[in-house]
Amino acid sequence: MAPVRLSALEPLLWGACAVVLAVLPFALSTFQVVQITVFLIFCLLAVSLDLSWGLAGLLSFGQAAFFGLGGYAYAILCANDETPGAALAAGIVAGGVAAGLLGYIAFYGRLSAMFLAVTTLVVTLILLQVLGSTADPSYHIGAAVLGGYNGMTNIPSLLPEPTPFFWTVGGLLFLLIVSGRLLMAAPFGRVLAAIRENERRVELLGYDARWHKLAIFALSGAIAGLAGALFASWGGFINPEVFSLAQSAQVVIWVLVGGRGSLYGAAIGAFLVQAMTQYLGSIGTAYTTLVLGALLVSFVLVMPNGLLPTFLRGLSSIGIRQR
């Protein structure tokens, strides 16, 4: 893969997206606005994984764990009468610190990519069991009762009105994608892309690969934590289900289906797969899981690059130039 260069058309695309996000709430019913807000939160989560997996080649199976920790941090601080703004910041910190700790062990211990995947998955599964075992009211942090598998409810929202909340989430996603694209084209992003392609060569050139990987992994975890806090705020509840195997797999499926490395692909994948899940969910959860599993297997086998890169390559092969 060539290093990312921003095309001259890209700011135009950003402008168009900004306009669409700004006017969309006026064209939709309140229900649809609320619905699309949660899709955008999932897009944030997908883009956070793409920053570590697509850019630096660090596949975390535990992105859902950072998301969940962010959500729980938000819920716990809100229950202890902190302002939603402070709770949101706590969500970001929780995701970032968890990812930083795991990343420190993985990168400074020089674990292989596969160990990173297994370790993050195991941490997620154990968080599921730990938080699931907190049903007894004696498990509480300050005034926040964790509630076992029922989770925490009545979490206050960041912004009670749907439309401002939509704009906040949409604005954050917009900011994330734009700054993420700029980061990819900046020297730091170039080093990460080089680490993905050949880590040893990067180290021979004098860069500290461990530090770079740790930085992007913690950043990715922090964004996942932000998404989790927004999710808890959106629905007013959080339960250990966010740490389940299906949820962790879903994040990976979004990015895999949409296509890695461009950030746009991840967001598109999250949107498409989530819309499909929503539809299938009305039939039965087992069908959703079955289809998600089949999707994962078939994309790995048939279209490992995902939809967007394959589509763009198709365009260029029929003679339409793209950069």
Binding site: G293, V300, L301
Partner: protein, 286 residues
């Protein structure tokens, strides 16, 4: 004294069940460097084989004998349809087996229903002084010992084992000697799956059998295999002993959940200092 013996049996049982569940994955990982994320679901399929055969009036032992065959065949099909296209792409293999894991859970839920099935634990209890120990736990310990010895024998005393270990060290050299490494991979994968099925069958009388049964075990199994490292037998036994002892000790003073957390914490510390797993430590010196 009696109390000490009973506690000791508890610890040995924890270690044995860990080794039993991890053995199949350890073989697949040691052989191909791949973590099969659907291993938990292979364990679940083994347990369901026992449940279904008992429900059809067959003896428990018949079901236990059928489980490795059934799951071995499933493993063979999976290898032929999915894994063989992905050799050399470790992360892709993990992703595909993860999809398989989700698919198997959903398929079993749709076909057999989400309710908990069970089979009665055979053998009753053995009295040690004033304490009663489930005789089936002793059977699990014995069966684990037997299976580890058997697999060790297969890998170290047979022609297949020799070729398999050769392919593990240098597949190109094995190919140059006229043996087709993909065939060896296929057989090893099926063997690892069959062992997972058998482990599930043996554990079935001790747990309720649900489609998500694998999830209860996989975290432990993955930790054991990664901490064990690439050496199949010494690594799995070493990691199983270390982690099983920690888990049962912590479970004993608090709850099983914290036992697992302690196990994970210990595994992370070990991996930080021995990224190749504990068998990497003695490999380097030896």
């Amino acid at each position: 004294m009696e109390y000490l013996i009973v506690t000791l049996i508890g610890v040995v049982f924890a270690i044995a069940s860990l080794v039993l569940l991890a053995l199949g994955l350890a073989i697949i990982y040691g052989m191909m460097g791949v973590i099969n994320l659907a291993q938990g679901e292979f364990i679940m399929l083994g347990a369901y084989t026992v449940v279904l055969s008992s429900a059809h009036g067959l003896q428990l032992w018949v079901g236990m004998a059928m489980a490795p065959v059934v799951v071995g065949v499933v493993g063979l099909v999976v290898e032929r349809c999915i894994i063989r296209f992905l050799y050399g792409r470790l992360l892709d293999t993990m992703l595909a087996t993860w999809g398989l894991s989700l698919g198997l859970i959903a398929a079993v839920t749709l076909i057999l229903g989400p309710s908990t099935e069970g089979v009665a634990t055979p053998f009753g209890h053995v009295a040690i002084g004033g304490y009663a120990v489930s005789a089936y736990n002793l059977f699990v310990i014995a069966a684990t010992g037997f299976l580890v010895a058997l697999t060790w024998g297969v890998f170290n005393r047979t022609r297949f084992g020799l070729i398999a270990r050769g392919a593990m060290q240098n597949a190109d050299m094995v190919a140059a000697l006229g043996i087709h490494p993909p065939t060896i991979y296929m057989m090893t994968f099926a063997l690892g799956s069959a062992l997972a099925g058998l482990a599930g069958a043996i554990m079935a009388p001790l747990t309720g059998v649900v489609p998500s049964l694998g999830l209860a075990f996989v975290a432990k199994v993955f930790i054991t295999v990664t901490v064990g490292g690439a050496a199949i037998f010494s690594g799995t036994l070493g990691a199983g002993t270390l982690l099983g002892a920690i888990e049962s000790a912590v479970s004993f003073i608090s709850t099983p959940i914290y036992g697992q957390v302690a196990m994970l914490g210990c595994a992370l510390v070990v991996l930080r200092f021995a990224p190749q797993g504990i068998s990497g430590l003695w490999r380097r010196s030896g």
